[in-house]
Symmetry: C2
Subunit: 358 residues, 2 copies
């Protein structure tokens, strides 16, 4: 059942379960601090293919396949896919996933897309619309850079506030659960040997964000453009649920990087909220900013997706983390309209993941 709490938080009372997840990352990500957590690391930027766009599609295909394998499910067990990415027309989602034969709903939330797809998958599963649903997203440094900024060959100087788009993808499979067993097509999970692991991570709450525009017009300062949305959704979620930051093991934003993180702390401090102790940012976790020369940190939907579906979920399964607020953040940035003088609106959605004992 779905209960509404406060202004805009949803409680998913049966806590649909994350029964499988998978991650794929590129070479630079594979040289960073989270290398050992990724399921697969590609060292070739085109993944043996012809173009970066096709490579990004292959990343999504890989992540979803890994997640299905991890869940012990087949394509036909999954009722819905929610997927999106940064490429125009969400190309890597539609091309990467067209062969799976699963009903498909394209999502666009810029770098917040992992939270959006996971939120939608969780809500639809809890509502009974599907027994099992998949969430997938990706980004690729090379395809993003040439689409949003300059051709790579141009060798443009990067500003100190710039972030490095992560080459990576993450996918999670959510299954309906209730009264001690998986429901419907997910019921084969009830018989599986590691059922305890499969039913462990649940999606307890979701909070859908509003578009927040901080008036930022610098396409090389995404962190600042997204910080307001992160602050708005996190603050709203804490109010709606009457919880405090210390009630969570981790509050993890998508890809605010150094600049956006500082602004987030400042904005929340005005509301007397301090999340410094619990907070991590996927964009700062995935790279060693100084050693890897990524300036303000990592970014892209693949950043929070690959970190969530490796480092965070694996640590949850180990019970090192038991309650995580996943607040991916997106800058709804369009080169066309920014060139027309418009500012960059941000958005952030939250999925609250918990280790379940039922």
């Amino acid at each position: 059942m779905i209960n509404r709490i406060g202004e805009r938080t949803l409680e998913l009372t049966r806590k649909p379960r994350v029964v499988g997840f998978g991650s794929a990352a590129g070479k630079k990500e594979g040289e960073g601090p989270l290398a050992k957590w990724f399921d697969k690391i590609f060292t070739d930027t085109t993944m043996g293919g012809e173009t970066w766009e096709k490579a990004e599609a292959a990343l999504q295909k890989t992540a979803l396949s890994l997640a299905l394998e991890n869940a012990g499910l087949e394509n036909s067990d999954v009722g819905l896919i929610f997927a999106g990415d940064l490429l125009n027309q969400c190309t890597s989602s539609s091309y990467g996933l067209r062969d799976f034969g699963i009903p498909f709903l394209g999502q666009y939330g810029a770098c917040s897309t992992m939270a959006q797809t996971l939120a939608m998958a969780s809500i639809l599963v809890e509502s009974g619309a599907a027994d099992t649903a998949a969430a997938v997203t990706s980004s690729h440094f090379c395809s993003a850079e040439r689409q949003f900024r300059y051709p790579l060959q141009y060798g443009g100087q990067r500003t100190p506030t710039a972030q490095w788009t992560v080459t990576g993808s993450g996918s999670a499979i959510v299954a309906a659960y209730g009264n001690g067993e998986f429901l419907g097509s997910g019921s084969k999970l009830t018989q599986c040997s590691d059922m305890n692991l499969k039913r462990q991570i649940g999606a307890a709450h979701v909070c859908i964000g509003k578009i927040i525009d901080m008036g930022i017009t610098d396409a090389n300062n995404m962190g600042a453009a997204m910080a307001g949305a992160a602050a708005d959704t996190i603050y709203r979620y804490l109010c709606d649920t009457s919880t405090k930051p210390e009630d969570y093991d981790m509050i993890v934003t998508g890809d605010l990087g150094k600049v956006g993180t500082d602004i987030l702390y400042e904005l929340l401090s005005k509301e007397n909220v301090s999340i410094e102790k619990q907070h991590s940012d996927c964009g700062l976790l995935i790279f060693d900013c100084d050693e890897q020369d990524v300036h303000a940190g990592g970014s892209g939907c693949g950043c929070s997706a690959s970190v969530l579906c490796s480092y965070i979920m694996k640590r949850m399964r180990k019970r090192e983390l038991n309650s995580v607020l996943f607040a991916a953040t997106g800058a709804l940035m369009s080169p066309t309209i920014v060139q027309q003088g418009e500012s960059i609106p941000g958005i952030s959605h939250i999925v609250h993941l918990v280790n379940c004992t039922d």
Copy 2:
């Protein structure tokens, strides 16, 4: 409640109600056969603004405002917006709707987006995740043409299979209904003078489509790229619900145009299904193809959105139509990846709208 029927159709048992809708269209559409049905017709392609992209954002803002007015609701009564469009990064949705202050979920289904947003709004309302949700989408001939094909100034020749992107937008507001009254924030509708009208149109069923690739590589033949998806979803829906085409007053596809419509009939005839008598296509309804020189018909998310949220819904309110299968169709076409030699996958989702008597 949401019941699953057959392979992938969802029955929304309480039939969430379309309590308001609005449409806005451009000059050429305002000279076509449906002119009298649109709520607002703009004769200036930039709508008094600076650019076509900003004009398209203004179209969405107008359509949503008209729908809210038609419903007699305010921004704060709406719990969620599902919106999308054809522009890169779904620009006209995020910029057109950022000031409404409503939790926002960007959708990308190319020209199928109106069915996708209406399906999601209906499912989420039925699930209890929101009392009221809005669906919005748009397209604009000038912004689409320069993004997907050539600069307008180039004056490229159009092929006979080419379709004309509609300048228009449509929006519908869906509210939760049960036991003879509107629920939650929609409850003010129960007290309104035209409650009978507000509770009339209900979303009875939804069918989410799979990605179907027909191998079409011609970016000027969208109808052919989408026809397979339309055939797949319509056939699946009829099987799932054990219904026949003659059970519906109208089966309306999004924007297959002349070419796609012919292919749809051919594909369905292989399954011994004939929809010719009930079928209309929004792309053929909105323009007089010969008189208005639009070749194979209209297209764009704004095509099916503006036709649904004017001509179709107004005729439903008049009870000229009582049961309509709305099957918007999308070509998940990316100029970048088509230039890389890839074919164009299609997708189609169905929302079954009925006049309710409860």
